[in-house]
Symmetry: C3
Subunit: 350 residues, 3 copies
Amino acid sequence: MKTARLKEIADLVQGKVVGNPAIEITGVSGIREAESGQITFLANPRYQADLESTHASAVVVAKIIGDLSISMVVVEDPYYAFAQIVKYFHVPPYCSLGISDRTVIGTGVEMGKDVSIHPLAVIGDRARIGDRVTIYPGSYVGAEAEIGDDSLIYPNVTIRERVQIGKRVIIHSGTVIGSDGFGFASHQGRHEKILQIGTVVIEDDVEVGSNVSVDRASLGKTVIKRGTKIDNLVQIAHNVVIGEDCLIVAQVGISGSTEVGHHTILAGQVGLVGHIKVGDHVIVGAKSGVSNDLKSHSVMSGIPVMDHKTWLKTQAILPHLPEFRKRVMALEEKIKQLEAQLQQDKNRGK
Amino acid sequence: MKTARLKEIADLVQGKVVGNPAIEITGVSGIREAESGQITFLANPRYQADLESTHASAVVVAKIIGDLSISMVVVEDPYYAFAQIVKYFHVPPYCSLGISDRTVIGTGVEMGKDVSIHPLAVIGDRARIGDRVTIYPGSYVGAEAEIGDDSLIYPNVTIRERVQIGKRVIIHSGTVIGSDGFGFASHQGRHEKILQIGTVVIEDDVEVGSNVSVDRASLGKTVIKRGTKIDNLVQIAHNVVIGEDCLIVAQVGISGSTEVGHHTILAGQVGLVGHIKVGDHVIVGAKSGVSNDLKSHSVMSGIPVMDHKTWLKTQAILPHLPEFRKRVMALEEKIKQLEAQLQQDKNRGK
Amino acid sequence: MKTARLKEIADLVQGKVVGNPAIEITGVSGIREAESGQITFLANPRYQADLESTHASAVVVAKIIGDLSISMVVVEDPYYAFAQIVKYFHVPPYCSLGISDRTVIGTGVEMGKDVSIHPLAVIGDRARIGDRVTIYPGSYVGAEAEIGDDSLIYPNVTIRERVQIGKRVIIHSGTVIGSDGFGFASHQGRHEKILQIGTVVIEDDVEVGSNVSVDRASLGKTVIKRGTKIDNLVQIAHNVVIGEDCLIVAQVGISGSTEVGHHTILAGQVGLVGHIKVGDHVIVGAKSGVSNDLKSHSVMSGIPVMDHKTWLKTQAILPHLPEFRKRVMALEEKIKQLEAQLQQDKNRGK
């Protein structure tokens, strides 16, 4: 088991030790689950109270906490520091398993060095597999598909023919890359299939969750650019282009030919219609429906979306609509009375 | 083929025969599809009219129906009685198929008695498989995972390393248990992966539908407690805890670290944000969005949720908003006129 | 590589050449991606500007475009014409691969002629596979299931026991047909499973996207009728009946026993509750929630749905609710003032 002095950990994350730099750290854990010898972290202030009862020997924090009995490592971004520490303790060195003799390998496959191809994986004809690629059982790589160096394909993934996958890409189980787009020409009441002859390009450092569907383009390419992370059960339709470093949260659906800029966040269960452009650094709140282009840096919510702040106000009013209706009815009644009274006064005045 | 006298069926479900207890029942079927000799049931009153034309020989009901020509079995809960009768006619005794020689089995696997491991299943190193476990083709059980006695894993399921699955658990096809949680520390515009080193615990008697994603915890465990039933295409994020005997309907999404109590029902396409607590015996209506803690026994709907009754009233008003706006505008106009008139009267009075 | 004179292409799609009928067409492509020699199409007017810079040699259009330098094929429906042209260039003749010796085939299987059963596919006992059926690796066909002629089953599909699939059906990867419906009888706080002893019938010419879940009926059948097309990640619950030629867009959920007519369109992320009837030629807008029967030819949106036009007006008002509330408050204030004034006048008058 890997261990390290607290000082070494602090150096790793460019942090400062407050307490005893010589403590031996044996691993990393959550505040509540940590045992003596382990380091934990505080990124979300709502868990600060838990620090009093933690068994951890040290904690990574953003600023010194006054009356804490355990040692601290103070860093700018505890969550990022935590990511590095977990990696330090838990990423084993890559170890090639070679190619199982129970793998099905087509003809003309270009196989990289030091790969790990598990039993019951299928590699289609003329596919190109990069160096140190891992492909787990039950995964299918179609003909002429490419998988870049150091990519990791979990069990039961389907990568259809000609799909191109970059380096250091992670694809989780049950995910399908390159299924046909949903394209039909309706003619005399029947839906004629439009062959989906395009493909999918997934660039370097993308991670795709489990049970995700990414459709191949009808013509051209569906593209997911470098560094974008996609959660589970997401639908990416044909010819969609997603920019770099986006976060696409679970159960989002993006319709055909829509383009999303870079560093944009689509929260859970958001839906985007087809043929629109969403800018860079946009945030769309959970469950929202987007039916028009969105400018860069906008923060939007609702069905269809509006400015997030307006949406918050709007939603706060909704439960009061019934009472609201009564108030309007009361106003109408009062106006009637006032009018009647004025008429009466007038008549009397005559 | 198994058959039974109507009296035997009635005894099985603790019901009372009204009609001929000696009829021979040959099977169970729907009201419309039933043939002579079969028993059917009436749980939803909307189908009562169909009873007049049914070919069934008997029907399970909650109370005696006056002019019915066929025999009845009267029970407190016809739906539950139906569940028992279907089981009586259709559950074959378990029969071990043994371990196919086309299964891939790792080293150090602890295999229970009388298992049924189909061809093309994969069991990872040091996994523990209980007695009478069935694993269908294409399913993957990762290293050190555990599956309890009498559990049933349908084809093409992925159970990742170290996941713990209880007894009598059913997992449907395409489902992924233990994929990585969606955890990234954003640093200088890039999303750095946080290793998801935790696991998933699924307790006894849980059923998980098809194409469900249950992510492993970043640290610690994602937990689904005893007796909870999960429908298809549901997303359960890392570190979620779901209590006992819940019903989680199709396409629900539950975000990271959220806790759900016991006997809670989340209807279809509901979304829960992360880090909240939903109580026991809560009901959340279809398509709702929950962004705050919910008290036990609450019944909620909407985005974000409000009391279900308020929501019903609110939604009934929504289609009238355009008319409503006109009414407010009319009021504004009338007030103006009244003010003008009063001013005129005043001027005249001077 | 297949080529054709422009005149031949025009004849194929019953169109009229405007320009040079003798041009040799070497393939089909998108407006932006097309190279010299290729034909492209304009179905969506928003892309007309792109025609000025296209490298295509010809374009399929609905009406003559004035100052276009390239040849045109004028047809009534360019999108349908495009579907036919793509088919002409890209559908290779079917070629049987036979049955891999690495396929798992049960006993008593009826195998059609000229099939293509890839390695690591599993065909259960007594299954019936039609002529020219293709089954890719990792797909599972349960016992006594039937697959009609010319159907295409992509990798990692699960078709459970007794499911019936028609002719020319396409099923994409990760999809599960015939998993158990979500049926439980709640009894003394526990959910008792109701055996799902029915099945699924998928008729001819249906296409089912990737990661779709279609549950088997509790009793009887779940039915998807001829020509209906289902997108990715859709949930079809037990005993649902979907009529002919429907379009069910991604992430839609249809609850148990609901019936949908023919030629109905459910847009993305729509949800239907159980036990309702949706008519023919209905359109339900994206993200809508349907909780009651819908008449044929209705166009609906919202949660719950209302007439689409009303919904558009309603949603346009939502962002103005905060301002609206202020207006009502202002009215209340003014009424108070008017009342006070009138009272004053009255008192003075006395």
